[in-house]
């Protein structure tokens, strides 16, 4: 086999894995941009999306579309309850205490999911067939196209919501300056609440759409959450193309690293790059230097 088709396949594999990271990374970015919190429980909502859909589809025998809708609703409800019960009661919310709370929350959600649904791995049926598509000598699954599509849709919806609706603008105002935002009459707590609802719904959507490829179990959230977080960091926590590029870059590096250097160092390569970015460009690869942002 020549090197060229091999390289094309590495690129496609990397981009399709990267799209998954990007989609999860966007969930991190949304909460961060409206509240300044890094929600380490984000990965668990990805898990909930997949596991809940499997539960409704296989155990309760709902149709696929209904299962997906109910799974997103339930995951959103859990996200909202999570905010209500843990973030809101905080008297003096500092970033550190909130980070620790979200880590605790993620361990709790994972534990409960394990007790309810057990430790088995499950798989969901693909949305549109199992026949791989051949593009320029490399192959991708139809499900990858769904992932690319959803990622684009999420970016467009984000752009619209944050720049053209009152709620979105209010959420951005909260992230710039909470005190000032509440002085002009924005209900900051409502905005925090809303951002949790949006990001848990998005996490669940990501979890559902990737489950036919990656399969799902109570503990998939940890690694996916971490990779999504990396994507968001590389992209400078932007809720648009920055994070998507970050995710794609991470996926590409992993795949090329595994293919051309050594698969044993695949994760190490990705995390070394994350560290380098944090050292050299903490504002992310694609952002201008630090603004007055929180």
């Amino acid at each position: 086999m020549d090197l060229l088709p091999q390289l094309t396949q590495y690129a496609f594999s990397g981009l399709s894995t990267g799209a998954i990271y990007a989609l999860i990374g966007l969930g991190f970015a949304i909460i961060y941009n409206s509240t300044g919190i890094i929600n380490f429980a984000q990965g668990e909502f990805v898990m909930l999306g997949g596991v809940l859909t499997h539960f409704f589809l296989m155990v309760l025998k709902f149709p696929l579309v209904v299962s997906m809708a109910v799974a997103i609703l339930v995951a959103t409800a859990i996200g909202v309850a999570f905010e209500r019960l843990t973030i809101r009661p905080l008297k003096r919310p500092t970033p550190l205490s909130m980070v620790i709370i979200t880590i605790g929350g993620s361990i709790f959600i994972r534990g409960v999911a394990m007790l309810i649904w057990g430790k088995d791995t499950h798989s969901l049926p693909p949305f549109s067939g199992n026949e791989p598509l051949v593009i320029a000598g490399a192959t991708v699954m139809p499900q990858h196209l769904w992932i690319f599509g959803l990622t684009l849709l999420v970016i467009a919806a984000n752009k619209y919501f944050f720049y053209y609706t009152i709620s979105g603008k209010a959420m951005r105002a909260c992230s710039y300056n909470r005190t000032a935002a509440s002085l002009v009459g924005i209900d900051v707590r409502r905005m925090v609440f809303l951002s949790f609802a949006i990001s848990s719904a998005m996490g669940a959507m990501a979890g559902i759409i990737i489950a036919p490829l990656t399969m799902t179990a109570y503990d998939v959230g940890v690694m996916l959450g971490l990779k999504g977080f990396c994507a968001a960091i590389i992209g400078g926590m932007s809720s648009g193309f920055g994070t998507v590029l970050g995710g794609l870059l991470l996926g590409l590096l992993e795949s090329l690293g595994a293919g051309l250097i050594s698969s044993g160092y695949k994760d190490a390569i990705a995390f070394i790059i994350l560290l380098l970015i944090l050292f050299i460009r903490p504002q992310g690869l694609f952002s201008k230097a630090q603004t007055e942002r929180v």
Partner: protein
């Protein structure tokens, strides 16, 4: 004279009470990792043992003696295993111990059972448990390398000499990788690719593309679910024609379900016979034991029996056999187990000797192949 009589009476009373004690119950201890990361081993082991003991006691026990069972949960923690083993020996006064479920726990308590002279029948697979042989320690799962040896024997028959390895970067995968590489070198195979993946990886197309570029004529993946299922799907996605082999770690219906019926077609692996017992030739010596165990397990718990539960089944069978043949003190049980010849278990036929405290050979495994979503014996 009077004194003499009383001594005789006292002696008789003592003798009788000892006798009564012996005829009452036989205390057997068990250490399993029922919770924690290795609970997929400990849980079926505990359930199997409880089921078997209940069954045996209902039938009147061993030679009229009821079995009393003391099961403890090590949680896969060597320190806990040590404390609980001490408790079983000192407080519960057990005459033999079954378990622990994992190699680490077993290695931790070996010095203790050797010192206290209590026979231990481990349910863990590590080679070092019985190699070198320790006087009081036995184990029921086949050694790690037996599965690899069975697989390479099959490959040699198929004349597939260039191997590509794709192993998971955890203890199971790396132990398999070491064994396969050592065996391959010894048996004249060439390892042309040696790739790894992490337990939680969701896409292995990069590694597989690299393997596709080599002249490998057999791909061996060594791991436990879900990784091997992802590999199977990726092989299909890339349209690779190279035959795919998996390890005994995925020898269950769950693997076929995860990988998909279409993608898993033709995948071949060495499996314990429990997976395919209903497809075995009728004359197979293990057929009766396997079907009885599986049926009983389904009746008791409503799910199919697993190979892991079989390790506890065999450990218990060895101890019961030893008590029947030899007696119920720790010393007699140890000697009895060592003299076991051709005992039919779930994992295979056990033939112990002073130099072999595992007693299984290659016949413990059967090569099986996925055909239309089910396991079939591979030719």
């Amino acid at each position: 004279m009077k004194r003499c009589v009383s001594v005789v009476v006292l002696g008789a009373v003592l003798l009788f009470s000892l006798e009564a004690l012996a005829a009452g119950t036989i205390r057997i201890g068990a250490l399993f990792s029922v919770t924690g990361p290795a609970s997929f081993l400990g849980e079926p082991e505990k359930k199997s043992l409880e089921m078997l003991v209940k069954d045996l006691n209902a039938k009147g026990g061993v030679k009229g003696n009821k079995i009393e069972l003391f099961i403890e949960d090590t949680q896969g923690d060597a320190t806990k295993a040590m404390q609980l083993a001490t408790k079983l020996i000192k407080n519960d006064k057990v005459v033999a111990i079954i378990g622990p479920s994992i190699t680490g726990d077993t290695m931790a308590i070996i010095p203790l059972v050797e010192k206290e002279q209590i026979p231990l029948v481990s349910c863990a697979a590590g080679v070092k448990i019985t190699d070198p042989v320790k006087k009081w320690v036995f184990k029921t799962p086949a050694n790690d390398h037996v599965a690899g040896e069975k697989l390479l024997e099959y490959l040699a028959a198929k004349k597939q000499k260039n191997l590509a390895l794709l192993t998971v970067s955890d203890a199971y995968g790396q132990s398999g990788r070491e064994q396969l590489k050592a065996l391959a070198a010894k048996k004249g195979f060439t390892v042309v690719a040696d790739e790894l993946y992490s337990p939680k990886d969701t896409d292995m197309t990069a590694q597989l593309t690299k393997i596709k570029g080599t002249k490998a004529d057999a791909l061996i993946c060594w791991g436990t679910n879900p990784g091997p299922a992802v590999v199977t799907r990726n092989v299909k996605q890339l349209g690779m024609k190279i035959p795919l082999y998996q390890s005994h770690g995925v020898a269950s219906k769950k693997y076929i379900e995860l990988a998909g019926v279409e993608a898993s077609e033709g995948v071949t692996l060495p499996a314990g016979k429990l997976t395919v017992y209903d497809k075995l030739k009728k004359g197979d010596p293990q057929y009766k034991v396997l079907s009885e165990y599986d049926q009983a397990y389904r009746r008791s718990y409503g799910v199919e029996a697993s190979t892991f539960g079989g390790y506890a089944h065999d450990a218990f069978a060895l101890i019961v056999e030893a008590i029947k043949k030899s007696g119920s003190t720790p010393e007699q049980i140890r000697n009895g187990i060592e003299q076991v010849r051709k005992l039919v278990g779930v994992s295979g036929l056990f033939t112990m000797s002073p130099t072999d405290h595992n007693g299984l050979d290659l016949s413990a495994f059967e090569m099986v192949k996925v055909v239309k979503g089910d396991w079939e014996p591979a030719k």
